[in-house]
Symmetry: C2
Subunit: 289 residues, 2 copies
Amino acid sequence: MDAMTRIERALAACLTRADGPGAPPRLAAAMQHSVFPKGAPIRPRLCLAVASACGESDPAIADAAAASIEFLHCASLVHDDLPCFDDAATRRGRPSVHAAFGAPLAVLAGDALIILAFQALAWGTATAPRRLAALTLTIARSVGMPGGIVAGQAFECEPSVEVAAYHRAKTGSLFAAATEAGAAAAGVPCEAWRMLGAKLGEAYQVADDIRDVVCNPDELGKPIGQDVALGRPSTVAELGLAGAVGRLQELAAEAVASIPACPGATELRGLILQESKRLLPKQLAQQAA
Amino acid sequence: MDAMTRIERALAACLTRADGPGAPPRLAAAMQHSVFPKGAPIRPRLCLAVASACGESDPAIADAAAASIEFLHCASLVHDDLPCFDDAATRRGRPSVHAAFGAPLAVLAGDALIILAFQALAWGTATAPRRLAALTLTIARSVGMPGGIVAGQAFECEPSVEVAAYHRAKTGSLFAAATEAGAAAAGVPCEAWRMLGAKLGEAYQVADDIRDVVCNPDELGKPIGQDVALGRPSTVAELGLAGAVGRLQELAAEAVASIPACPGATELRGLILQESKRLLPKQLAQQAA
């Protein structure tokens, strides 16, 4: 089964359990809207690729880790889009959750997805219960305090913030969790896999800053120019557009170089290089080539 | 060490880990404000009492379960108080989190506490990793979909709702988790302990409905008359005040009768009876006696 199908099935299976007997239908619908149709599930695919490269014995564990990471990513988007943060009316080219269901259900959908993320891990590790703690701690660290997504988002409420720390928490941390959790799902020590995710997360954030400046809203599926409009830290503001493109290429090379020795290292290197090339908007990729 | 001290230390130790190097200070402060000074930690004490009655071998596991449950309870209060829900300016007699820190940090503090709740379980079960899954699933079920706190809160966004289902999800579920998790922390099968928590949760909710009508705001530490003002389901509206008091006493008796056979059953029965009596506001307790 290919990675996209595995991820889609794992997400759908968890959402079905959440939408069990007696579930409030509008909250169930808001959760579904938060997750499907999904964007490119870059973090879950990274998680599965690492688990496979590490020689996983039970793919269901990596599927659970991938689903957990995607639920947490979706939860962070739903809460980021709330009126009290970005007040974004669209996401992935259609109404954001609060625009479609109202702010109360958007708050609850985010909460419910965070909880579902940890349930997914416990359900998925039934055959290997000793892997649950490593997965829980790795993934929780990437979204919680002091250095995960919520911390990154909270930096927007502080009087001043260092750009690198902000990006590391808000974006890098969940990429680092994706690679670490892939290794943990395969039952191998995961700390050595952190660098790969951290570098890719940084590359992805730089690409996001670039797209915020050069894309049109249809291409992006969400409003553009938000970093400048909201006075948020941005690599383009810091280094200029050409500097940001150069930084992205540097990070992709560092990511590939960081891959630890493992049975599937060669294939993984190829995959990472190929994915990195897709991060740049088309017109810039052609200029850079 | 007494239960209150154990709970206070467990909560403080987890919050200290969350407020680690690089943590955004205002979010750390908002989390602290959400948890301390705490109200009567009725659910964590229940969890510790059950673990002790079941003959726990390692109190650190029950401490972690108790802390997890309290963090989730606090998270639900912080999100419930948000402007898009109850818009409550006070909680436990002082400013609510959104009143003190703003809505963005209140959303994030709730999120961070939910994540911390699952981290607490993984940290606390290091000596007994096989208990982590049972604790995670029991506790997650009580706060997530389809029948936990978020579902209960979401019923407020549905066109109609059955009062019993609403209370079961919004209040009963976390009490049920407290008793189940106490048993799971002690390493014994936990399903038989669900009824005790469910009955106590129902009793507590009935008591809350009563206090909303008969207390003054200083006594309650939060605004009164909210059920009527917000058109929320309430046992007092359904059964009248005397009917609600009678129902509360019935539930306390059913709770005590449900306690499964265990080494500390007699002591636990005494504790539950004593706690139940404290649920009624003083003037009503005197009338009822």
